[in-house]
Amino acid sequence: MDVAADLAATAPLWLPMVGCLAVLLAETLAPGRTGKLPALLSAATLALAFARLATTGPSTREPFGMVADDALARSLTGILLLVGIAAVALAEPLLERLALPRGEYFALLLASLSGMTLLVAARDLMALFLAIELISIPLYVLAAYRRLTALSVESGFKYFLLGAFASGFLVYGIALLFAATGDTRYATLAAYAADPARLTTLWHAGSTLLLVGLGFKVAAAPFHAWTPDVYQGAPTPVTAFMAAGVKCAAFGALLRLAWEVLPDSAGLRAGLSLLACASMIVGNLGALLQTQLKRLLAWSSIAHAGYLMLGVLAVLATKSKAGGGAAAREAVVFYLATYALTTLAAFAWTLQLGREAPELQDLRAWKGLARRRPWLSLALALCFLSFAGVPLTAGFLGKLYLLKAAFGAGNDLIAPMVVLAATSVVALGYYLRVLTTFYMDRPADEDATLPATFAPAGVTLLTTVACAAVLVFGVWPEPLLRWLGP
């Protein structure tokens, strides 16, 4: 084993951890007096990791015998690093305003991020479990970071309880799979599963529990119950990081499992279809009733988990066909990229307008906003149109690609696709309500001064860049596709 070469290949994975340690060190040397240093240090390491990623190409080697260095891992790592930089830009001004300790925050953020980058590359169930714990434990703390606010503490506690529960499923599943096969490496598991006759109850129970555990993490129904409360209570920059990052990382793991390990079977397809359809239906119906922006986005994220699950299903169903499911994998990664982009923009916007005050995060406080703050309204309208999948937004092309890839399996997946189409109409009911509120409703008091927005340069820049990207990639997705492609 060539350790130096392995370390070089995995630099984008461990650099965030180095950043985490550097931030901690700085905080120990000058406690409470580091100012903007932790944020700058974090952003710099992430940028460095991204630069490293962008200047090297994928390889077929398997560093440390545990992680992959292929196109899938690299494109998802790239998305995650950018999400991390955005999360830093969102958090810094808010922490400063609320006078919360900044060093710990960024150390935890980077630790969680390094878990995410490990998760999308993991090729061993041990690495997978390690990565998930590395993501989750810092996030429990981050969700409760405003420890004097009841909602934030509730959010952290709820996330911790249900997350621990999910980890239980996950680790039990891994144990059963190990019992069935005697190994935890994906390659061995795949070789074992190649012969369907050998698949015992142990295997089936193990893989089911594994999927249940990951289902919790991606917030797929029926394992979604924690999502609205956790999303609402956590500080908005944490929610944004959670919504965009965890979704990308956990779907990356699911994608790899469906591609490399799990054998295509009618039972598995039925299970994933059920998860997909349930998430789409529950998420979209649940969102119809929400007026709190963050809760609305939480329910919508459940629905999006359903759409993405259809992509995973497409990977599973097309991997034995010509092309080896490459189109389906790319479709899911593309969807994740557009989803992360839109989600970041939407939460950055929520932070700007909502200023962490529950009454300002209520849509009804912003009737007729378009008249007073045209650009801000336009930005959020654009995000919601992208979520809804209206043409000329990146979200539309994401859905288009996903559906097209799902047709790669012939007509096998038509049922969840029809559910997707039908629930997309339901989804318009709440996405358009946001537009209605801003553009069509009249404010209760025309002359009242509008509550001020929280618009530090970083947040405004993020909203602007993300919204521009949603439009540009909606019209001209080639650069993004090329970057994400193999």
Binding site: R371, L397, L400, S424, V425, G429, M440
Partner: protein, 504 residues
Amino acid sequence: MNDLLLAVLILGPLAAAVVIALLPRLAPEPARVLTLLVTVATFAASLPLLATDLGGAMTRELDVGWIAAFRVRFHLGVDGISAPLVVLTTLLMPLVVLASYGHVHDRVKQYCVLLLAMEGGMIGVFAALDLVLFYVFFELSLVPLYLLVGIYGGARRAYAALKFFLFTVAGSLPLLLAILWLVNKAGSGDFATLRNLALSPQEQGWLFAAFAAAFCVKVPLVPLHTWLPDAHVEAPTGGSVVLAGVTLKMGTYGLLRFCLPLFPQASTQAMPLLLALAVVGILYGALLAWAQGDLKKIVAYSSVSHLGFVVLGLFAMESTAASGAVLQMVNHGLSTGALFLLIGMIYERAHTRQLAEFGGLARTMPRFAVCLVVASLSSIGLPGLNGFVGEFLILIGTWRDHPVAASLAALGVLLGAIYLLGLVKGLLFGPIVHPKTAAWRDLTTREMALLAPLFALMVAIGFAPQPLLRRIEPPVQRMLEAPRLALEAAAPPPPPAKQPKEGG
């Protein structure tokens, strides 16, 4: 081969919309003038499109790659079916901008931006020759119209706008699935490639259902029409004109361009159902129009009735009827556009649209009276005006194979005369009802000027429809080739006894 004109017509208004949106602190008047200039320039630039190929081939084609991974190409082109519709669109837009002087005083810049975005989307729908591209434009034109109705509309505007959006999207998502299925099967979404794709009858059935669902909601065909009256009543005048004048034609255009040639067997199987729905639409729409007291609702339901004629003409699968149907799409845009503009003008003065509150306007507003009479007669189908030509062609074309449907539809013409003449009588004649009638000014020069092109075309098409029909007929025949063949294959062989009789 690659002609940029269509791309300019689509991207020009879209680019202008972006520029106007980005101009900071643009006052309402410059925004309106700028929009007017852009729409007039677009209209002028679109006129050369009318020089279509008389053999029915596509002209002005542009075919460049767009998104390779999805196999989507930016493929545009027009023939004798789409060119008149594009020109109708570009003609109506400057009129809508001119009309906005009367009723849009708030958020004018946004209104202009939405109109321009709408224009680009609508032209794209008629010019797209790649199905995914078509879908993009089809959906794209929804959002501006949704906002136009929702922001500038009446009291229940938000409800009406949402209903309109949800109905249309519910119809068009199956269309998206069907298009993607076709793209996967054929490896391309190009119209020419898909026409040669062999599909089993079962596949055709599903695909036809998905396509027809989207288009029939848009037309709207009874029983999917309930969104239309709501949208029309709440929409501002400009929104109504665009909605009735152009967007409804996207449905009938889609039926002719895609459903008939791509799924011929399924189309012939569905023919009885669609003919029946068309006839029901003609009669039911007319009866509903007759019963309304709101001027806009009368015209809205008359649209249901008139678009029923168009569907009837298309699904008679006979070239005279189908050509008449295409002509009628244009005619309906002209006459209904004029009627909505006139209703908007009277509403600006009276602030009511209830028929019962009007009377005797012929005496106080003679110019308005003349315009309303001509527009109504055009809509009724009086010989010498455009509506007559279209309806007449549809009826004779349909009569040959479907005499029952044609006779019932003819009854619709009669009903049309009843409710439209009722509207004319109620507004113009009888005693003066509204106490302020005398204070209402007759039409201004601006209003006359914006109506003039519509009336000129009504008369021109009424007297000389040939130049237009000569362009419409060849491509219509091309679209009908496959369904005609399917129809002949499905028909039972003619009874042998008939031959000697004719010979002797």
